[in-house]
Amino acid sequence: MTMDSMATSLVSLPPSVLLAGGALLIPLLPRYFRAAWMILLSILGLAFLWSLPVLQASEFCVVSATYGNYSLMPYVSDPLGRLFATIFLLVLITGSLYAWSLDDRGESIGTMLYGAGAVGVVLAGDYLTLFVFWELMAIASTWLIWSRREVGSTAVGVRYLIYHLLGGGFLLMGILFQIHSTGSIQLQPFTEGISWGTLGQDLVSNPSGTLGPLFLLLGVAVNAAVVPLHAWLPDAYAKASWTGSVFMSALTTKSAIYVMIRLFPGLDILLVAGLVMAVFGTIYGLLSNNVRQILSYSIIAQLGYMIAAVGVGSEMALNGAAAHAFSHILYKSLLFMCAGAMAVYAGRATLVEWTDSQDDSMDRGASSHTQQWKQPDHPLPWGLFALYMIGALSISGVPLLSGFISKPMILESLGKAHHEAGLLILIAASIGTFLHTGLKIPYAMWIKPRLDSASGLVDVASQNHDVDDQASPETDATLTHKLPLSQWLAMSLGAGLCLLFGLAPDLLYGWLPYPVKFSPFEAYPISESLMTLSGGFFAFVLLRKWLYRPGRVLDLDWIYQKGGEPLRKVVVDTSWAVFGAVDIVVQRMASSMTQWFRGEKGTGPTPAQRFNLAQPSIESAIAWIVGTMLVIGLALFL
């Protein structure tokens, strides 16, 4: 089969083009058809993708193009790319089902373009295509944040956009350096890694060759939320639209992981970075009080697993990273969907709230005795609990669910590579994940409110004695919040997929880039998982009282949130001062000369001639001209 004949058949249409083109039709479709359209195109994209052959050893270029002197490979079908594209399309399907009743054309378009960008990135074979789709993702996902339309949404979106454009800028710099040093625009892995020891000399002897991988790494690290470049993630994902965050949790970060697996397998520093992320994400996840924020930090922690695995670099490790990305998307999207549902019932997104409005009256010394657990507006149904726990137990690595098929693979690969300290750290972080997602959230949302109401701390709003007959919301007249059927279906679908892959991991293993020599259903992983989680459970039971505390988590974004204003002042005020000083001097000279010529006495520039940076006075502008000349001239003759 030659490339020419492939390129002319319809199935070689890249799914990203399909989705992006489809996005154009969204404005014309009536409300419920938009979600159906998205689902249809995703399925079609999957069908096209899977009908293409894929070669194990090398890449199969489906579409090729040229740009100037560079030959592009915009659409490449290889196992790794196909795996990622598949899960992206799957999450587009479940997420669109979840967003069935969304009535926001802008957000729907943004979602499709976002999906198109993500699929485009993982199927790209050259840097230009990669960059185009990368930027598309950044802009489309910003739109999903702005779609929330809250008072603060503008600011969050702007921060996010700037962060990602900055990351894109780094990526572009890396790409340009790469092109300059290798002359090729195609994606090539950096198999020799980066030699940190000789960095200084390399910079001098081969600047673009050295800076290329560095900046590429930096650009990818922004999207992959590597600590300390991670602060955008909890900020944005907790405040995006409810339907948008489902997609955001999956696409941006995982496409960055894909690029890491592709370009930097075995890069030693990634192991350290991953471990830091795992610990950091776990601690902050336990600190947070907002459901989606906890989930966001959990994303950072899980990304840490993947990045650490990329850092190990063995075949099993890379398999593990890819598999973990796959299963992570499955359960994370489910969890975010549940988060949205929880907010519908609870009327809020936080776990703990002060019941009195005087936050400030709470002094630091007060223990939890005075802390009140505010009841959710409506009791959360047990059906939602079941769906949520499937996701939560998946992320914790409980056997028979999707997390269990990938996390042990990573752990074992670390073990085989003799990174024992790292292995123990990751296991501890895994327990921490169980603590915040699997215990802290459900306890606060389901268990504690019912304990409280059962023992007499009842709100006027919920007059329910036995919370059990909330199974059917329709029977209770006071329960006006209920979820549309489409959301229940979407969450069930997500949960079903978690179960499916948990029970039949070989389905996923067949799609992994390298041959799989691992099976999770062995004594060791199962018992390890069960024992550690059990231990963690009882630790939580002991210490749960002190774990909950409302408040905003202080993260690194404090620096630029607080630092932006002073920086602006410094830059602007300095310019103002410099230009102003010149202007005043010149104005004085000009007016005194005028007065001298006229034979008058004077007092200096009038208020009307006061300085304006945006429009310097004629005199000062001339002064600048003359000054520039003099400076250059002086320099010449000295």
């Binding site: 809250e150 409280d452 060791y524 231990g535």
Partner: protein, 105 residues
């Protein structure tokens, strides 16, 4: 574990009268707090199953130095979780700031 009573209204129709202590899972009729009992039971069973598996399949268990210690993972789980929680609880005072309105929910 006591909680001071909130502004909630005390329904006289509530089952039981006045002697509630919150959080005591054993004092009420079992079905009222099944949602606490069930997870605890699961955790106990899971832990036990894990220990049994380890004991039975001892042959596979030589991978790392810590596997020499029996029921290592159970202890590791408990201790590391306690440590993590302790660190978090301590950090809470430092890293949690008061709400400013409008940034949540």
């Amino acid at each position: 574990m006591s909680r001071s009573q909130s502004t909630g209204q005390f329904e006289t129709g509530q089952s039981g009268t006045g002697q509630h202590r919150a959080g005591q899972s054993g004092m009420k009729p079992p079905w009222r707090h099944w949602f606490v009992v069930v997870p605890v039971v699961f955790a106990l069973l899971g832990g036990a199953a894990g220990v049994i598996i380890e004991v039975v399949y001892l042959a596979d268990y030589a991978s790392h130095w810590w596997n020499e210690i029996p029921v290592f993972y159970l202890l590791f789980g408990l201790i590391s979780a306690v440590l993590t929680l302790a660190v978090v609880i301590l950090l809470q005072r430092v890293l949690l700031r008061k709400h400013h309105g409008g940034s949540e929910a």
